[in-house]
């Protein structure tokens, strides 16, 4: 079941399959937070913003079509879906786009405006947004941004004004153990620390292996300064609702660790 993380903002999660390969590598390197025998999952998150109008940010993966359709129905509770926004057209984020639009034919598709290859994703008719663009849902106000840390070039981040929420998509995710679905970072009983973030980013942002550490860390400071987020809602991590700067410091550590230690694997 979805979780309301701020009045009118709902968190929908695909917990994902057990990932014994990741568990084994955690065991092999003696990751301090990992308990032998526990399952490891890499979640996919989608978020529903409900003001006077509604917007869904991302669609979950094709393995979770039923989940997204069912959970969406539950949180909409009879209301219409007005917008479906895609952070980027990656299969695990966008793979249910047309299934959702089939179910909610009145919803307007919103996609990152970056680049000139929208036709190659069937996104030529989407409403394209980028830095400087906003959407007022009535009681919820969304702003679209360039993604600072990303995989696909055609990507965007989003902020929501009333909650102070930043949605950094593929950034700030981490692997979960069983029982850790839909928990705020401050509710975890196991540590949520830089080692855990590094395990994820050493896979998804393998390119951190090739970066200038100081410059990349400076960008993290800039993200914090620019958005001053009070909440973080990543597509692959726990939602953070307190002490955001502390987590940004961890992410600076992560850059250093992947740049010096290399990639941790694949996702």
């Amino acid at each position: 079941m979805p979780r309301e993380i701020h009045p009118g903002i709902h968190w929908i999660q695909e917990f994902g399959p057990d990932r014994p390969g990741i568990a084994k590598s955690l065991l092999d390197r003696g990751a301090h937070w990992y308990r032998p025998g526990r399952e490891i999952h890499v979640p996919q998150n989608a978020f529903l913003f409900a003001g006077e109008q509604t917007l869904l940010f991302d669609t979950l993966s094709p393995a979770a079509t039923d989940r997204i359709l069912t959970d969406l129905e539950a949180v909409l509770d009879g209301r219409a879906l007005d917008y479906l926004a895609l952070s980027h057209p990656d299969v695990p984020h966008a793979g249910n786009t047309f299934r959702i639009l089939e179910r909610h034919p009145g919803a307007k598709l919103v996609a990152p405006g970056f680049g000139r290859t929208h036709e190659l994703y069937h996104l030529e008719d989407a409403h394209k947004v980028g830095p400087g663009d906003s959407l007022d849902l009535g009681g919820k106000r969304l702003h679209f941004h360039d993604a600072a840390f990303l995989d696909a070039a055609m990507s965007m981040w989003m902020t929501e004004e009333t909650s102070g929420m930043l949605l950094p998509v593929d950034w700030m995710g981490l692997p979960l153990m069983d029982g850790e679905g839909l928990l705020f970072a401050d509710e975890f009983r196991s540590p949520v620390d830089e080692d855990r973030y590094a395990e994820f980013h050493g896979r998804v942002m393998f390119w951190l292996r090739y970066v200038d550490v100081a410059r990349t860390q400076k960008e993290i400071d800039l993200v914090l300064e620019t958005y001053r987020p009070r909440m973080i809602a990543s597509a692959h991590g726990p939602v953070i609702r307190a002490d955001v700067p502390h987590y940004f410091e961890m992410m600076k550590e992560v850059v250093e660790r992947v740049a010096t230690g290399g990639r941790t694997g694949v996702l």
Partner: protein
């Protein structure tokens, strides 16, 4: 395989009728031979303002089987089906090795399987289900597999966007298929030309614009580290051709020239986008 299963990858697909209405004019040759059994099936996508990008596939005609590298974009589906059928004398595909699941690389898998049967898919995803490929045979980055009788190595790609991307090295032909690496914004009349056929070789500007617009993370790159790892890949193995999905194939003798221009391009991106 049930129909729903096949369609899962195609979450972003519409009916196939839609595709035919957007088919564009064809590139020149049906296929361009790189080695005696590897050929390039070049497709062009115009970006406007005189810039174009290839969204191609490659075909290995192994002993008795045909291996396709990537599936191309649904935008070029009809042309690809026609040309693959032509080049293989109607045999079609027996195996497909996927560099990564981004739609312009993976978008024709369901359609090709409907046409040529449920051929083998080899993909390097950590979790094929999540990538919409529940039926894929998994390759591991850093590992090797025998595919249709060929020894294939899967390399960790320094130039890529998605985490699960691998570069694909065919030991027999020594062709290195590099997915989103080594791309180029070519001029329209350079469509379908290899580095041996480009009248004036590669231009630095279009190597730069491709990387600036495609691999956004390069703005954070440490050029010596990145270029060092790249050059190591070519020091460790003999490469006859570098075969990019989004560029003009680079013959061994033109690789150093490309790498020099690439290094300059990366330095320019870093310089222009410094925090």
């Amino acid at each position: 395989m049930d129909r729903v299963g096949r369609e899962r990858l195609a979450g972003l697909e519409r009916g196939s009728g839609f595709v035919s209405t957007i088919q564009r004019a064809r590139g020149p040759a049906a296929s361009v031979p790189l080695t005696h059994d590897v050929s390039w099936i070049a497709e062009n996508y115009p970006l406007g303002e005189g810039r174009n990008v290839h969204v191609s596939v490659f075909l290995i005609r192994a002993e008795e089987q045909n291996i396709l590298i990537d599936s191309g974009s649904f935008y070029h589906r009809e042309s690809l089906v026609r040309r693959i059928s032509g080049v293989t004398a109607g045999e079609g595909i027996h195996s497909l090795i996927l560099s990564h699941s981004d739609y312009p690389h993976s978008g024709n898998i369901p359609a090709f399987r409907r046409r040529w049967g449920d051929f083998e898919i080899v993909a390097s995803s950590g979790e094929p289900e999540i990538q919409g490929l529940p039926y894929a045979r998994r390759s591991r980055i850093g590992g090797s597999l025998e595919v249709a009788g060929r020894q294939i190595d899967f390399l960790d790609p320094p130039l890529a966007d998605r985490s699960h991307t691998s570069w694909i090295y065919d030991r027999a032909s020594r062709v290195l298929f590099v997915a989103d690496g080594f791309g180029y914004h070519h001029a329209e009349d350079e469509t379908g030309l290899t580095s041996r056929q480009l009248p004036d070789g590669f231009r630095s500007e279009e190597i730069y614009t491709f990387h600036r617009d495609t691999l956004i993370w390069l703005r954070y790159a440490d050029p010596p580290v990145l270029m060092g790892v790249l050059r190591e890949i070519f020091a460790e193995r003999e490469v006859s051709w570098v075969a990019p999905i989004h560029g003009n194939p680079i013959a061994a003798e033109h690789l150093d020239d490309y790498l020099e221009r690439l290094e300059a391009g990366v330095r320019r991106i870093v310089g222009e986008q410094a925090v």
